[in-house]
Subunit: 244 residues, 2 copies
């Protein structure tokens, strides 16, 4: 499995993904699940993937136009007039790749399935965030649902539901995502370090920060240990059940 979260805040977009892939419990590897296309001053596009690795790698390769010679590549992805068109393009590629893998046409429940979180901004438009389904269709985030998760989403959802605030700073949002990822890492072996973090500041039209967070990252250690302790303290501070 996988765990990826894309989150929209007033100041921009924040993305985090793990890097573990597994084909059975005895076949574990590390692969990047966060992919970025950038045209400084013009657009930034981030795509995170969960699901069948052959499918997700194919989709990325197709979007990169790796079927062409290196000199001839000019990804159509970077020519779309809007993020909505970008999502349509990605959705179409996803659908094609899955259809080509399935032996007799696409099945919604196929093992070749993959889901994607797409976010970014194109000059002249607002930052936007989408979730793209294996069927190629997609939904966009809104004020009511300002974040998307793919993969092992459940362990880390309660903390996001409880503490998200669209006025958050990037620094706070990264903290929130690390807590959410740490809860997931502690509960599920199929999600693993290192983590990829990216944030994009609204109207910057370039990647704000991109960082790989490994086991020994001092801030990650602070959050992981600190959150365990903080939870225990918070738990202790609540009144016990009145037995009588």
């Amino acid at each position: 499995m996988t765990y990826c979260v894309g989150l929209k805040i007033d100041r921009g977009l924040v993305f985090m993904s793990d890097t573990r892939t597994n084909a059975g419990i005895d076949s574990i590897s590390t692969f990047r699940k966060m992919h970025v296309w950038e045209e400084p001053g013009e657009r930034v596009i981030v795509l995170m993937s969960a699901g069948n690795l052959a499918t997700t790698q194919s989709v990325i390769s197709m979007l990169d136009e790796r079927t062409k010679a290196v000199s001839e590549r000019a990804p159509t992805l970077l020519e779309m007039p809007s993020m909505y068109q970008t999502a349509r393009l990605v959705g179409g590629v996803v659908k094609d790749v899955i259809a080509n893998s399935a032996p007799v046409g696409q099945k919604a429940d196929s093992y070749f399935n993959a889901s994607f979180i797409l976010g970014g901004q194109i000059k002249g438009t607002e930052p936007r965030l989408f979730m793209i389904y294996p069927e190629g269709n997609f939904i966009e985030s809104s004020d009511d649902t300002p974040f998307f998760q793919v993969g092992e989403t459940k362990y880390g959802k309660p903390i996001i539901v409880r503490t998200y605030d669209k006025a958050m700073s990037f620094a706070e949002t990264v903290k929130l995502l690390l807590v959410s990822f740490d809860s997931t890492l502690k509960s599920n072996l199929s999600v693993g370090l290192p983590l990829d973090l990216l944030f994009y500041q609204k109207d910057a039209f370039k990647v704000g920060m991109k960082k790989r967070i490994a086991q020994d990252d001092p801030y990650y250690r602070t959050i992981s240990d600190g959150w365990s302790n903080a939870l225990k303290q918070a738990f202790k501070a609540l009144p016990d059940f009145p037995e009588s």
Copy 2:
């Protein structure tokens, strides 16, 4: 879906289950998922179920011997010499009921599936806790894994993993379970109030406390609101991501 947790502590056993069942999102009902058989001074047996309601109700009815006239019922369940034998009996009934529902023999992935948490104590033996699978086989809790969850287990797992301590009092354990259930309730519509709570004190051979916790339960409100606030405080207290 469902959410049930059975937890073993030094002082005994604690059980909590929700009461929501749904057959599609537009067909929601409330059913008790916690069932108790008690022979004061002799044994206490608690069974919680998740899965197909027809299956789980059949299993309970069979164990209650409801195929017989009321006057002739003397549940075999109350005559087993050990909790291990009790788990075998329940597992056998589960397997039979599922096999009878499936059109052409049992499939592991059947829609008629159900899982159970069984716990209790019989005079002369220790309190024991089991998890029973749809196939009828089962596992027992240990010091390493002192709790079992069935149903929507993921949202509420991190807090149990982090704060469980076998030396906990009943009052603290109930607090822990309520926090775990509250996280699940806030994240998943298929788990719903009221909750059933039961605790069994080691060597008491009678139910210690059995209570239904509804939306307006003052202690539940305290925990639900208090935990949200405590989490926010704990989160605030952690250092933000150093952006530089």
